[in-house]
């Protein structure tokens, strides 16, 4: 019965979060839809726009069926204004932005644009065209809703995205790193290496372990990013991931709450697994051939880090979600993941370098682990909520 109560409690709190709220906003937003009664995509978009109208009280929708001659003339003018000569519908205009055709991604973009113009001034070019304040050849400046720009001394023009994503990579990577899952293996490995008193071997085997751990994490995150990029536009997938984030976050917060009631220290878990890994480490570190020893450490790092992934898969998974919601180049994706991993490995690197210099092992206080559960839990819950209510904020359109 106890487990059932827990499941009901978690589900209740999760559902509590999901009650859709009516978004209140500041500016009036005018949306112009040019459609045709015979166009299936138009019908789907019209359904979507009904939801938007209910959700955003400040949204005014103007519809133009293009089999009507006057509407068709207006559409041609609007298309010329935007330098778009393709004859497709649906054709959606909000402020100075337009969207042609309709699918889940367009829906996300349209909602982002509604949210952007709800809090930012919008120039209503279609109404200006209707009122002959401008004509179809007038030059218009397209709003860059993807980001705001800041001027930082010495660095120059920087957008919110340029700042926010690295900041998120550093914070979540560091919090993820404080999760002690694989730290005990590194410490045991270092204790064996220190015993050998062979500095070159220590550097090589220690670095091999840390680099392999980083590569495993990199491969996992790149793989998950690719999956996210292909499925992220499917709303119910995003919803499931948000649910995972909320449950994972709640579990982290629950672990933090539990840790307050007991002594902070090292949990002695799974004696047999620990002894097996220790035996392997002893074998590798006493292996005469350096190459064989390195190969051993690589296999050790691979197996240990797969355990680590399960132990903290929540945070890297959510970080790749955030990346997938931002239209970045492959290079940018790679750089941000690398940045995440560097801060994820930071505590391992610190412990390793100190051990190499002082020939002594130092530990990072387990009291910090408690707070990594707290911070990690809060981050996961926030991301879960944003994935559901404000996905646009995760692409840093505030």
């Amino acid at each position: 019965m106890k487990l059932l109560n827990k499941i009901l409690m978690y589900s209740f709190f999760t559902l509590l979060f999901l009650i859709p709220l009516n978004v209140n906003a500041e500016n009036d937003v005018n949306l112009y839809l040019f459609y045709s009664d015979t166009c299936p995509h138009c019908a789907v978009e019209k359904e979507f726009l009904k939801e938007m109208e209910e959700k955003y009280e400040n949204l005014n929708i103007h519809m133009y069926e293009v089999s009507d001659e006057a509407n068709y003339t207006l559409l041609s003018k609007v298309k010329t204004l935007f330098g778009n000569d393709k004859p497709y519908v649906p054709f959606t205009v909000i402020g100075t932005l337009y969207y042609e055709g309709y699918n889940d991604n367009t829906a996300l973009k349209i909602e982002e644009t509604i949210e952007y113009y709800s809090v930012n001034e919008a120039r209503n070019v279609v109404s200006e065209l209707i009122n002959n304040e401008i004509d179809e050849n007038t030059e218009i400046v397209i709003d860059d809703i993807d980001s705001k720009t800041f001027n930082i001394p010495f660095i120059g023009q920087v957008t919110t995205k340029d700042i926010s994503i690295p900041l998120v990579a550093v914070i979540i990577g560091a919090v993820d790193g404080f999760n002690p899952c694989a730290m005990w293996v590194l410490l045991f490995l270092l204790s064996m290496l220190i015993g050998n008193h062979d500095k070159k071997r220590m550097w090589l085997l220690g670095l091999t372990f840390i680099l392999t751990s980083g590569i495993i994490y990199l491969l996992f995150m790149v793989a998950w990013l690719k999956i996210s990029l292909s499925i992220m536009s499917i709303n119910y997938i995003k919803f499931i991931i948000a649910l995972i984030a909320l449950i994972g976050g709640s579990f982290n917060l629950y672990s933090f709450y539990k840790s307050l009631q007991k002594d902070s220290g090292c949990d002695v878990v799974n004696d047999s697994k620990r002894k097996r890994i220790f035996a392997e480490i002893k074998r590798f570190t006493s292996e005469k051939s350096l190459l064989l020893a390195m190969a051993g450490v690589v296999t050790l790092a691979i197996s240990v880090n797969f355990i680590e992934l399960a132990c903290s898969a929540g945070l890297p998974l959510l970080f790749t979600q955030i990346l997938s919601l931002n239209n970045l180049s492959s290079l940018e994706y790679f750089i941000y993941i690398l940045m995440y991993i560097i801060f994820f490995l930071l505590d391992d690197i610190i412990v390793f370098v100190i051990a190499m210099i002082t020939f002594e092992l130092t530990g990072i206080s387990t009291k910090l682990n408690k707070y990594s559960h707290l911070i990690g839990g809060v981050i996961m819950v926030i991301i879960g909520l944003l994935l559901i209510f404000k996905p646009a904020w995760l692409s840093f359109n505030f």
């Binding site: 002690p180 220290g265 090292c266 002695v268 092992l361 530990g363 387990t366």
Partner: protein, 87 residues
């Protein structure tokens, strides 16, 4: 009187507490300090019904356990807990 310390090389909390205890040792010259490793000294460690959190510091007076300190403690906390029972 004797103080038994049980920790592990893979345990960050132990790596913090052990050096602190070693420093405190000089304040208590009449007390025997004995250090065990949870993995390397398994036979000895099994005599003390160690729990699931490391490190553990057990204080004995005439072979009778009078205090058990569990988990990570800083110098002040450790000194206070030891002084509590030996005064």
């Amino acid at each position: 009187m004797k103080i038994i310390y049980i920790g592990a090389v893979w345990c960050p909390a132990c790596l913090i507490v052990k050096p602190v205890l070693k420093k405190l040792q000089s304040n208590y010259v009449n007390i025997d300090f004995i250090y065990y490793d949870y993995d390397m000294d398994e036979e000895e460690v099994n005599k003390y019904q160690v729990g699931k959190v490391l490190p553990e510091i057990i204080i004995f007076d005439n072979d009778k356990e009078i205090q058990r300190i569990i988990g990570e403690k800083n110098k002040k906390e450790l000194e206070g807990l030891i002084n509590e029972v030996i005064k």
